[in-house]
């Protein structure tokens, strides 16, 4: 046995801290929660309100612009049709809305963070271990405080998804920018380019394929969170899986699971397509 004299507990202080946050700053979190909820509901309202063929057209157009390959367009069409045929259309749109919001916020956080990491060695050294923790900490651990602060439902689900899914985007944005040929950056500097001109005109465009790979990873990881998210009240395909488990309805669970897989494949191929076409633009290197 480890000697008891050396025992320290962080339980009490942490609990008190979260408690005081809830008591004293509850209104702040409520405000954040309300704003986020409105955004999620708005996206959901659009996706669920659109007729199915409109969503089809949007996805097929995205697939075409991403890859310029008719084969991908056909694949996406078949897969979306399968989702509808399995009766999962509405649930899929709910899940998609959560994915979109979580990915959007991840981009808004992840890309600027990645740029900062690429520019500052100190920031890198501080942030990388934090990202490791975010990716390895079991998600239930931060779901508990998220529920306490934001209540049950879609908002903590989106936040938990972001915590889990944003690290690859930060890492790959950082990597992409640091991999830009230093002579190209030096040349831009030598011709008098200002830091923003170099960032937006040279570094970010050249890092785009790597950043797109990061976005792809982020979306995939976000999708792997949908079942966990449904445990705290997010609806959609995850809830259906959960339901299947609870009622030992294997078929129902599998159907919803297939829906998640299809959504993953569609989003994966489209984002990969965009990454590859931006790679091609600069000469397959």
């Amino acid at each position: 046995m480890f000697p008891e004299a050396f025992h320290i507990s962080i339980r009490g202080p942490i609990n008190d801290f979260v408690q005081s946050l809830v008591v004293n700053y509850g209104f702040v979190f409520k405000a954040i929660s309300q704003t986020l909820l409105q955004a999620i509901l708005f996206v959901e309202w659009i996706l669920r309100g659109l007729p199915w063929w409109a969503v089809f057209i949007v996805f097929l157009a995205l697939a075409w612009f991403a890859s310029k390959k008719i084969s991908l367009v056909v694949t996406v069409a078949v897969m979306l049709f399968a989702v509808g045929a399995l009766g999962l259309w509405d649930l899929t749109m709910q899940t998609l809305a959560l994915m979109l919001i979580a990915s959007l916020i991840s981009v808004a956080i992840g890309v600027p963070m990645g740029i900062w990491l690429a520019k500052s060695e100190l920031m890198r050294r501080i942030t990388l271990p934090v990202l490791d923790v975010m990716q390895t900490m079991p998600s239930f651990v931060y779901l508990i405080p998220a529920i306490m602060l934001f209540g049950l439902g879609k908002v903590p689900a989106v936040l938990a998804t972001i915590i889990y899914a944003v690290p690859p985007l930060i890492r790959l944005t950082d990597l992409g920018i640091r991999q830009v040929d230093s002579e190209v950056v030096e040349a831009a500097t030598a011709f008098g380019g200002s830091p923003p001109q170099i960032l937006f005109g040279v570094e970010l465009p050249l890092a785009t394929p790597t950043i797109m790979a990061g976005l792809n990873q982020t979306i995939m990881m976000a999708l792997s969170m949908v079942v966990v998210a449904s445990m705290i009240g997010a609806r959609g395909l995850g809830e259906q899986v959960l339901n299947g488990i609870q009622t030992l309805d294997v078929g129902k669970g599998l159907e919803a699971g297939l829906g998640i897989v299809i959504l993953a494949i569609v989003l994966d191929r489209i984002t990969q397509g965009f990454g590859q076409s931006s790679r091609k633009e600069r000469g397959n290197d």
Binding site: E186, A187, A190, F191, G192
Partner: protein, 276 residues
Amino acid sequence: MTDIAIRNVSKIFGGNWKAALAMTKDGADKGAILAKTGCSVGLDNVSLDIPGGRVFVIMGLSGSGKSTLVRHINRLIEPTSGEILVDGSNVLDLKAKELRDFRNRRVSMVFQNFGLMPHRTVLQNVVYGQRVRGLTKADAAPIGMKWIETVGLAGYENKFPHQLSGGMKQRVGLARALAADTDVILMDEAFSALDPLIRADMQDQLLQLEKNLHKTIVFITHDLDEALRIGAQIAILKDGKLVQVGTPSEILNSPANDYVARFVQRRAGAGEVQHA
């Protein structure tokens, strides 16, 4: 025409630069300083006068500090001590914004591995300096086209760098420097990555430009033949120290020390074989 004066410039790479700088003043050599302080000496008290309107060659082997020296002129590298005067004013006094303006309008640069932006077309690369200056695409395009024609790349303006050969890429690099319309052009081993025939072509083109444009061109090379061919004056660096400055005939006929003499002899030896 712009004169450049480099005054007692030293550059020490490493954290303990104060100790290392003191050691260079006592005349310690590079190896001893590295062993004692962990710093490497890039440049050791170099002073040079680069007269305007000609090609001035800085020659040295790799590690001699020649690329480091040329980057001091547009402050891509900050000196540890010393001054760099361009037309009498000290470049080190420039604030960030002034420095960007100075780089944009006074000094342009050509790089060994071209430094072209792979996501921009030839024309977009060539007008980069003008675009940074704030010119619109439409205003910059004719300037770019003029220089693309001058370097013989007409018809390639909408190609991307990866579609060009090495020699063509460096012509783009040269056109970019010329389109920036600066008095000074720094060329860091600009022709070293090219094969011999194209290299000779580019040297001819550079001499032609010197004659027509009267720019101050600082040319870095490790090749004595190239230095003799294009340089109005040549400075030779070794281990961060200036060994000799002179016209090509001065270098050939009265080498300052054994190091320079060995260069010259090797060249003479090579010449004999060619003519045998």
